[in-house]
Amino acid sequence: MQPSEASIIHINVTDFAAAVTIAKNQSLSDSVFVIALEASNRSVVITPSHRAWEEGIRSGMPLRMAQRLLPSLQVLPLDSKSIAKADQAIATIVQTYSPQIQCDRNGHVYLDMHGTTRLFGPVVDSAVRIRKEIAEQLNLEASVAVASNKLVAKIGTRTTRPSGLIQVREGEEAAFLAQQDVDLLSGVGVATSRLLAVAGITQIGQIASLDDQQVLAFLGKRGLALRDAARGLDKSPLHTGLSSKRVIQRKVSFATPLLEQELLQAAVVTATEDAALSMRTESMGCSKLYIQLSYTDGKVSEATCRTKDQWAFDQELVQVAWRAAQQARNRRVRLLGFVLHLAQLSPLMKSLDLIFPEGAQNSEKLQQAVDTMRKKFGVGILTHANALPLGPSERLLPALQSPGSNFLI
């Protein structure tokens, strides 16, 4: 038999915000607490501590519900500065092992160790050393997995959380996934999991065994991607560089320079919806939005909005984008266009359903329904009403369907 060495490492510091808080203050290690933005009325649990998790508190749970379940629950604020520092420190550690790294923030890092065996020995040994360095230098426990691709490595760390080790050999991905619970698969949220359970599907291998026709009939077009994932197939490359420095960008150039507020708003909304859909498709959220307006006289103006929380849904992002655009627009000169960035990306704080939208909150349900429609019929099929002054959405479709491209209005 030929030896086969999988080379992707996934590092996953479970419940990152809580882990960083404990790393700073060891006396909290046995406390039942959550990290949340208490000031907000609609506040949700960003991260529970391990003890809170054992009590049934989960990320994304409305804070009020968590407090009802556990009246003694401590609520601590999000320490964004320390979290960013910890992410940076992890990146610094892993950079000594491979130049090919994808830092997704919130304690998620992928490394491609291909070709490093002569230097560092077997990949699994490197994974063990990285875990040790993170523990010793940062006081953070990580689960580490070695696999042939990101998808399987991520399921590996989810299986062995909070701090285990697993190596899945190349060619054995499907066998490893076969008996795992379906909700370990990205894209299977509460609703999909429930629907699959009704059909008697509780393990990933059961999805993997469906043929194309069965998938299409049962799960629709998006189901094919889910079925491939269940088979451990994932060719997505590493997005190298720090995710905090990655941006999802949309550039809009107006065919005719414009002055009208409504037309600008329509363009901003459309570009934001498009960028946000790309972001959610990568299972990411953002905490920074930047806009730069270009004027006919060659000058530019810009504005940035930030949150300590995470933006993921159109409803919030569209409002923020328009607020930023209004802040930036400080001159009465015709506009040539604008650039929009969604930045400081981080993994979505809760697992969204890839196929069947249903969630605890209406906004989430609505967003997932909209995304499903857009993925099926194109991004222009559904939009906010204030994007309509642009005219028939068909004009936008060809450009909008290739994320990251520029498009002309």
């Binding site: 038999m1 899945v168 050999r169």
Partner: protein, 273 residues
């Protein structure tokens, strides 16, 4: 604070006379010599032949300082007969009494073959077997990758049973390497990393491997992590060919005690050549 116990899988190898045991050592004296080197051993003969209480009692008398882990008889793991396995458990348990009485039984290892699939009948059997052997300290080793899933881990945690961690060659057909604490003891079996001879050769060649110092350092990190929330970590080297398991076990002991594996491996290398 967790206790690390390091030893080898088996001790009764005639080819160790010379490399490990002094020349002229008789088979009856192997264990007492072994006890001068290590404080634990994994007994493997019990897989091939149902052990007896008197036999294990004598072994304890020969090596009173040694903690024993014992591999379950094949009738409980490989050639299970529906009608008779409970009787086999009874015989096996009865044999363990002297070790239990003297408090020198560290663990019972249940090693299941590749053919033991994650299917309903096997799961039911495993559940019954674990219940029947309870409350003995148990470790389970699966050779089929299907068992390495979140349900198995949850089930083992609920029952306080260790999932045996493995180190073995990275070749197709082997189970994944997985370290997860599922009980108050951790159990690590080190089979060597001989990729060339793992399949299609005899068992002696399969375990013909000497871990390098760098590999031992990495293994020690795995062990330290396993020790974090457990009371005891049992570590057994199974790369027994030419006494290499002893070389590595001694080096790992030195490393764990804060010494350098390098010197010890160099000193001991003569015994494995």
């Amino acid at each position: 604070m967790s206790t690390l116990l390091i030893g080898t899988s088996g001790y009764s190898y005639t080819e160790w006379v010379g490399p490990v045991y002094p020349k002229g050592t008789t088979q009856q004296a192997f264990l007492s010599h072994y006890a001068q080197l290590f404080s634990t051993v994994e007994l493997n003969f019990s897989y091939y032949r149902m052990p007896e209480a008197t036999q294990l009692s004598v072994m304890h008398q020969e090596a009173p300082s040694v903690q024993f882990s014992i591999k379950a008889h094949q009738s409980l793991t490989h050639s299970i007969e529906t009608g008779s396995w409970r009787e086999q458990v009874r015989l096996f348990r009865r044999a363990l009494e002297p070790l239990i009485k003297e408090d020198v039984l560290s663990a019972v290892l249940l090693q299941f073959p590749f053919s033991f699939h994650y299917e309903i009948d096997q799961r039911k059997y495993l559940d019954s077997l674990l219940k029947t052997l309870s409350p003995l300290p148990l470790a389970v080793e699966f050779r089929n990758a299907q068992w390495y899933n979140n349900r198995t881990l949850d089930a083992l945690k609920e029952r306080n049973i260790a999932l045996a961690s493995l180190d073995l060659p990275s070749v197709k057909g082997n189970p994944p390497i997985m370290d997860v604490q599922t009980s108050s003891i951790a159990y690590l079996r080190l089979h060597g990393r001989n990729e060339q001879t793992w399949w299609g050769s005899d068992s002696a060649s399969r375990y013909d491997y000497l871990y390098s110092n760098k590999e031992l350092e990495s293994l020690l990190e795995r062990i330290r992590w396993l020790a974090k929330d457990t009371q005891k970590v049992l570590i057994y080297f199974n790369n027994h060919r030419r006494g290499q398991a002893v070389t590595n076990a001694l080096a790992l002991k030195a490393l764990a005690e804060g010494g350098s594996a390098c010197n010890l491996q160099r000193q001991a290398s003569s015994i494995s050549t």
